[in-house]
């Protein structure tokens, strides 16, 4: 029981990440009809927003203390980050909370990246075959990740989580089990809650605002909405920006769980495509459902009890589920009729 609960919790944060990336992919596909292979790269760019902010916060000023000498006899150089020198204790807090603060940085950056990507490149590929869209965005993904590699180097850069969220929550004790059995890191819990908030935000935005209503109408029938005198292209461009922001935020918050490196995007890309296809191309609830489902399935498959029956199952379970779903439910779990069918 405890083990199952623990695996359930373990699946949630990973599922949250899958759901967020898949949601963005589906938004792009559902609005613009473009299969975006560079979406993983957007996730990676988001993660590197966090890295950049932390590097900025840790820029150091060097002061020389003539009273103290190093073992070599030269005056001791003391390095302190500017923020700490300027703000004192508050600077320490800023550095400690660099990852959550990066969310604020990531939103405008990712919005800008997304919109310029759509205007500069994707726009020209609306009418081209899906295969060419896949290829050009795949090329873009390579370019983006190589730029990041040139700037930040090839090694993963660990990002610490805020000290306050560094420990683990004893969830078991809260719900009345023995203490210390079901222990779950705070940050993963935070990630799960964060993903719920973002998902809820996107769905509420689409459901309850006029802008969202127009976008949904455009997803259903783009031409008619255009005929009604609405500049649907502009709204879809903004939706692309929002999808980029969602991917970027997911990337920022994921950095303490997995040190970001330049190929982070490619690693997540394949999985998120599997998630999208399992959920059903073009279905937003499907993407979220499949994201959490695959996260949970993967988590349960890595239990020792399961692995002893089917060795290696934890490595392939996601793909296995994808194959079974695709063969039995051609449109994925919640796919609409007529989307991406030949």
């Amino acid at each position: 029981m405890e083990a199952i609960l623990l695996q359930f919790l373990n699946g949630l944060d990973k599922g949250g990440a899958y759901a967020l990336i898949a949601l963005g992919l589906t938004l792009v596909f559902g609005t613009l009809g473009v299969v975006n292979f560079a979406h993983g790269a957007l996730f990676m760019l988001g993660a590197f927003c966090a890295v950049t902010l932390r590097n900025l916060l840790l820029l150091e000023q060097v002061t020389v203390d003539p009273d103290q000498l190093t073992p070599w006899g030269t005056p001791l150089e003391i390095k302190t980050p500017y923020v700490i020198a300027w703000f004192g204790e508050f600077g320490n807090v800023l550095v400690d909370y660099s990852v959550p603060i990066s969310l604020v940085l990531a939103i405008p950056v990712m919005l800008f990246v997304g919109i310029s990507m759509e205007r500069g490149l994707i726009k020209h590929f609306y009418k081209r075959p899906h295969a060419e869209q896949i290829l050009v965005t795949f090329g873009l993904a390579i370019v983006l990740q190589e730029i990041i590699k040139a700037v930040f180097g090839a090694n993963p850069i660990p990002q610490p989580m805020p000290a306050a969220l560094g420990g683990a929550a004893d969830i078991g004790a809260v719900i009345g089990l023995h203490a210390g059995v079901v222990v779950y890191p705070w940050w993963r819990l935070a990630y799960f809650l964060f993903s719920l908030i973002v998902l809820g935000g996107v769905f509420a935005f689409l459901r309850f605002t006029t802008f969202g209503m127009v976008v949904r109408a455009g997803m259903a029938d783009r031409e008619t909405v255009g005929l009604l005198g609405i500049d649907i292209d502009r709204r879809f461009t903004i939706m692309f920006g929002i999808a980029a922001v969602v991917a970027g935020l997911a990337g920022v918050m994921y950095t303490p769980l997995l040190p970001p490196s330049f190929h982070l995007g490619m690693d997540f890309l394949v999985l998120s495509f599997v998630v999208v296809v399992v959920g059903g191309m073009g279905s937003l609830p499907g993407a979220v459902l499949a994201g959490f489902l695959l996260g949970l399935v993967q988590s349960f498959a890595s239990m020792n009890e399961v692995k002893s029956i089917f060795p290696g199952i934890d490595q392939i379970i996601i793909y296995l589920v994808a194959v079974v779903v695709l063969l039995t439910l051609p449109r994925g779990l919640l796919g609409r009729r007529g989307v991406m069918e030949s």
Binding site: A131, V136, I142, V274, A322, E341
Partner: protein, 380 residues
């Protein structure tokens, strides 16, 4: 020759001449060493095979590297169990990859479009992950499958005792080192090219092109397209297996990373870069990509400094720095940019560029533009 058109015979002859003289004309580019040339040939086979599936039927497989990997493993096992002769090894790898492709293709071809791509991707990733984890007894996991002194090598032992040290690979008795290896691979590649040419021109090939342009219509005309697509998939898988086998013949080692999805992406890049659906395109794409990977990536500060030595120091440093971002470690960046440029401006790949230049030249020379146009690929 076997009822081939004159143009095809001419293409084949010129192509053969170009390939066999590669050690000469590639020397100025610094690429005329046997190992790299051998790779050129092997990846050309891989790309030709991929093109039989993607170029003719339009099914975009994102998991083709799995067959390459399987072929490599099969070949190394043949070295370990039977003999160091490459012929048996590649026969073995082609058959294994073919069986593999039959199973995966049978399942994956139930869906088309992106669903097919994801299915093949899923199977390839499964093979990759399993090769790393559970199948370690067969694949030797992360270390990769290697020859060892305790291998039985049954057939070789019948003819003589095992010598000291690890034996090297042979092909029909020829030692595979140096240029011999290249010429063996080149001969096999030319045979593969010839076969692909025949397939593309055959009624079977027409059927595959029909699947690409309109599968529904093909079905309505009374053809069951699935067996044809499956046949194309298996043939293409066998090509990949052959390439994998030859990789093992060139260097008797097989690792799981050959099956990773990035390796599958690489063959897609090659084919698109050169030109999908053309005969020569994939070959050229494979050569360019491997050239980038091996030569471009070796450019370093010293070479750049040398090349820009004519510039004054103040100018040279920034210039070298800028170029340094695109060569050496950054060769992937150049690749990505070139690839994007090709997809954006030349969706038909470099071969379309050649055709366009040809068209302009012919029009300049008066007439003939219409004839050039008949060779255009059918639109999607």
């Amino acid at each position: 020759m076997l009822s081939m058109s004159r143009k095809d015979v001419l293409t084949l002859l010129i192509f053969t001449a170009v390939v066999l003289t590669m050690p000469i004309w590639l020397a100025p580019f610094g690429a005329a060493y046997p190992n790299l040339l051998q790779k050129f040939m092997i990846y050309a086979i891989f790309a030709i095979g991929f093109n039989i599936l993607f170029g003719l039927t339009g099914y975009l497989s994102f998991g083709h590297a799995a067959f390459l990997g399987v072929g490599s493993y099969a070949a190394v096992w043949s070295f370990k169990l039977f003999t160091m002769d490459g012929l048996l090894a590649i026969v073995f790898s082609v058959i294994t990859a073919g069986v593999f492709a039959l199973v995966i293709g049978y399942i994956s071809l139930r869906r088309s479009g992106i669903y097919f791509s994801i299915l093949t991707l899923a199977f390839a990733e499964m093979s990759y992950k399993l090769a790393y984890s559970v199948l370690t007894p067969i694949t030797n996991g992360e270390t990769g499958l290697q020859l060892s002194l305790r291998d039985p090598r049954l057939i070789d032992r019948m003819f003589g005792p095992a010598g000291d040290g690890l034996p090297s690979t042979r092909f029909l008795g020829l030692d595979m080192g140096g240029y011999t290896g290249f010429y063996v691979c080149a001969a096999i590649m030319l045979i593969c090219f010839f076969l692909a040419m025949r397939i593309a021109g055959s009624p079977f090939g027409m059927m595959l092109k029909g699947i690409k342009s309109n599968q529904t219509r093909m079905n309505y005309t009374g053809f069951n397209t699935r067996p044809y697509a499956l046949a194309a998939f298996v043939i293409s898988g066998m090509y990949a297996g052959l390439a994998g086998g030859l990789l093992a013949v060139a260097d008797p080692l097989a690792g799981a990373e050959r099956m990773q999805w990035t390796a599958s992406g690489e063959v897609v890049l090659m084919t698109i870069l050169g030109g999908v659906g053309t005969l020569l395109g994939p070959v050229i794409g494979a050569w360019i990509l491997k050239y980038f990977e091996n030569i471009f990536s070796a450019f370093n500060q010293g070479i750049l400094d040398h090349n820009f030595a004519f510039l004054p120091d103040a100018v040279r440093e920034p210039v070298v720095w800028v170029f340094g971002q695109f060569v050496g470690e950054g060769w992937h960046l150049t690749l990505g940019l070139v690839f994007m440029a090709v997809v954006i401006f030349l969706p038909g790949g470099l071969m379309e560029g050649v055709r366009r230049i040809n068209g302009v030249l012919r029009r300049g020379g008066g007439g003939g533009a219409a004839r050039a146009k008949t060779h255009m690929q059918p639109a999607e």
